[in-house]
């Protein structure tokens, strides 16, 4: 396996330190102000991570430093799902049949043994929340993975808070256990009508650059039952896959990358 270091560019942040020298009496603590502005001349589409060190050299020969780090892009723009055919030669995500072949249209599963839908997907970035639900096959929830722009434009009407870190709020266990109970509290994510949740995982890392699932090159999930252990009744469904964007708001559907499968018919023999 060829492991190459990430090539660096010299575009550096603009840093000001005020004051540039400071006398601190024995036992005292005094403040300085450090301002850091992201580098220019870098392509935001490459999500350039900039960093550096503020070094303090003391007249007694001592040294101290603090380090800074940021990214010259909006994290919410980072693509989460591989929606290309680069990996398998066929577009991801996909659902496979019992023979491991991707389904293109309506497919029937007996749910016996390995005759269950297998969801295959590949994360090119980590996601704070990954969810698989079953929806009614006649539902008009659609994917935002076939278009070059998301279906719902980002609604940034709220004033950004002065939060330093990501705006991932605490999602309560309530939201996870009862995903549709959020309806009255608002939230377009919870408003999407689902038949039931198959799988949810929080804060998963991206897949690795590897050729096998064992090496985490891609991920699979067999849809055998609902996440709470109940059986999936015979019927006609689609899989709804939703991956939350980094720094996205878990309550907003438009902050997810959304994909729906072709129709799956569950019909026990």
């Amino acid at each position: 396996m060829v492991v190459e270091p990430v090539t660096l560019v010299s575009n550096a942040a603009t840093v000001n330190i005020i004051p540039s020298t400071l006398k601190v009496a024995a036992g005292w603590t005094l403040p300085i102000m450090v301002t850091v502005k992201a580098p220019t001349g870098v392509d935001a589409k490459t999500f350039p991570v900039f960093s550096g060190f503020i070094q303090a050299t003391g007249s007694d020969g001592s040294t101290l430093q603090t380090s800074y780090l940021g990214v010259a892009a909006a994290l919410k723009d980072m693509k989460i799902l591989d929606n290309t055919d680069a990996y398998f030669g066929v577009k991801l995500p996909l659902v496979a049949d019992k023979d491991g072949n991707p389904i293109n249209g309506s497919t029937t599963y007996t749910m016996k043994g390995t005759d269950t839908p297998l969801v295959i997907y590949r994360l090119v970035a980590g996601t704070p929340m990954f969810r698989l639900d079953l929806i009614d096959s006649k539902s008009n929830v659609t994917t935002n993975q076939r278009r070059s722009v998301p279906i719902m434009p980002a609604v940034e009407a709220e004033v950004e808070s002065r939060e330093v870190h990501s705006t991932i709020g605490k999602r309560s266990i309530w939201d996870w256990l009862f995903p549709n109970k959020g309806n009255s509290a608002g939230g377009t994510f919870a408003a999407v009508k689902t038949v039931g949740t198959v799988y949810q995982e929080d804060y998963i890392s991206r897949n690795a650059q590897a050729a096998t699932a064992d090496a985490n090159g891609y991920s699979t999930f067999p849809v055998t039952q609902f996440a709470n252990g109940t059986a999936i009744p015979d019927g006609s469904y689609k899989i709804l896959l939703r991956a939350l964007k980094i720094t996205g708001d878990a309550k907003k559907e438009e902050d997810y990358e959304v994909w729906t499968s072709p129709e799956l018919i569950v019909k026990r023999a």
Partner: protein, 177 residues
């Protein structure tokens, strides 16, 4: 940096890793046949350095919760950044790979000053924080005048198209490793 050292930062731009420790070609008391010791490389060789440094820190500064909570900042304040490669004009390695730099146990254990916060998280363009008050503490017995300098690390593009940069390349079914 060793090729097996993984990159941070966290997905939402927290400062990871914190510091680095030696892990390449480490000699240790791992006996091999004919009475020699093994030389190995890996993160398993670096972690004992950090564990040992932490033990020394606790021993000298006090075996208590306050030292433990301060430890990360102490190691970051006293770490020494390394360059990307051995060329004299090489950029400094990104903090996303080395953290604050190579741990310096002696300065960490015996230093009396601090510069906090030890991590200035600028975050992304949507949540950007750009002004950071930093407190310089002189815990010694003599007055000290500090002179400040900005040392930038190289900037790392991390995504190409939709794919992460780095790691192994060409590990796809149509182009095996």
């Amino acid at each position: 940096m060793s090729s097996f050292s993984t990159y941070g930062p966290s997905n939402d731009m927290y400062f990871k890793p914190a510091v680095s420790a030696p892990g390449g070609g480490i000699l240790s008391t791992y006996p091999v046949p004919m009475g020699a010791y093994a030389i190995l490389s890996g993160t398993s060789m670096a972690t004992p350095f950090v564990a040992g440094a932490s033990a020394l820190l606790l021993q000298v500064r006090g075996k208590n919760a306050a030292t433990a909570k301060a430890a990360r900042g102490i190691f970051e304040n006293t770490a020494v950044p390394v360059r990307f490669n051995t060329a004299t004009d090489s950029l400094y390695e990104t903090a996303a790979h080395q953290g604050a730099g190579l741990i310096n146990v002696y300065n960490a254990v015996h230093g009396t000053g601090s510069m906090l916060p030890a991590e200035l998280l600028v975050n992304d363009t949507t949540h950007s924080k750009n002004a950071f008050p930093v407190l310089i503490k002189n815990g010694g017995k003599k007055d000290v005048t500090y002179t400040f300098k900005h040392v930038p690390a190289g900037t790392a593009p991390t995504i190409s198209g939709i794919e992460p940069i780095g790691e192994s390349k060409h590990c796809f079914l149509d182009a095996p490793c």
